[in-house]
């Protein structure tokens, strides 16, 4: 499990991996599975209602995490399949790719999950997700009007996020 050095925004955002507008959407969940933020930039296909979509996404991440924790070929002590794991415990994953999209995933020690869905040929976005987490800390957590556990409604966070995502993907 990586720890995030300080709460300072790193002076320069990580270098962009691909240029152009390739980001599809982004989710932020808290540790209870509440969708704090959903942003959509380019999503032509909607198969489900928004609420169902968020639930399905959280369920997919939860189950994939228990799958990777159970499959981990480097450790012998893995426990049972499906036992809930604390953030940073067990083997997690950072991305998966299909033929139409790539999903990058990051979980903070407090259980905040940041999910970014981009074009399948996007490079490694781990550093970018860390930077987005820093944005979240700066603009949401430090906002005195924000109530933890409720959907994020911070204008400043949204505009900075849009700007940053446009610059990376």
């Amino acid at each position: 499990m990586q720890f995030f050095g300080g709460s300072e925004i790193s002076p320069s955002p990580p270098a962009p991996t691909v240029s152009g507008n390739n980001a599809h959407m982004m989710y932020v969940f808290n540790r209870n599975g509440v969708c704090l933020l959903y942003r959509e930039w380019n999503r032509p296909l909607h198969t489900l209602s928004a609420q169902q979509d968020h639930k399905l996404m959280f369920g997919l991440l939860f189950s994939l995490k228990s799958l990777t924790a159970k499959m981990d070929p480097t450790s012998a002590e893995k426990g049972n399949l499906g036992v809930p794991q604390l953030p940073g415990q067990g083997c997690s994953f950072h991305s998966f790719r299909t033929n139409t999209y790539k999903l990058s995933f990051m979980e903070s020690p407090s259980g905040i999950k940041i999910i970014l869905v981009t074009h399948p040929r996007t490079g490694d976005l781990r550093e970018s997700l860390k930077y987005i987490y820093n944005l979240y800390v700066e603009y949401v957590v430090k906002n005195p009007l924000y109530n933890p556990g409720t959907p994020i409604r911070c204008e400043l966070f949204n505009t900075t996020l849009d700007q940053y995502v446009r610059s990376i993907a």
Binding site: H24, M25, N42, R43, P44, L45, T47, L48, D53, L56, M57, G59, L60, S63, L64, S66, L67, T68, K70, M71, D72, P73, T74, S75, A76, E77, K78, L81, C91, S92, F93, H94, S95, F96, R97, T98, N99, T100, Y101, L103, V117
Partner: protein
Amino acid sequence: MAAIYSLYIINKSGGLIFYKDYGSAGRMDTNDSLRVASLWHSMHAISQQLSPTTGCSGIELLEADTFDLHCFQSLTGTKFFVVCEPGTHHMESLLKYIYELYTDYVLKNPFYEMEMPIRCELFDINLSQAVQKDRVALLGR
């Protein structure tokens, strides 16, 4: 150190029909391998539902902290997936080759019942040769 940790083949309804371990720490027992296989089958299906664009055919590569999982789905819905070291290349071609072996030695076997666990000696022999060759190729680099 093994480049490939394990290989799974699951049928179109998510049942495990073949599992082979090539030296991962603390190998899984039969029940767990069955559970993991059917869990993967459903995760693969859900990932198609969450696609932002049309024409999604499921997860091809899952990058975990300590391993990569490459998955290949045949046109009939049989899924082949290997667990390997992070950053291992040429896994797509290996999976396609394993699929070829499956069609040659399993599907053409008159005693093989469709969708049932694979017990074909020729398949086992050719598979271990292919994996061995792959490992040698990896060491030669």
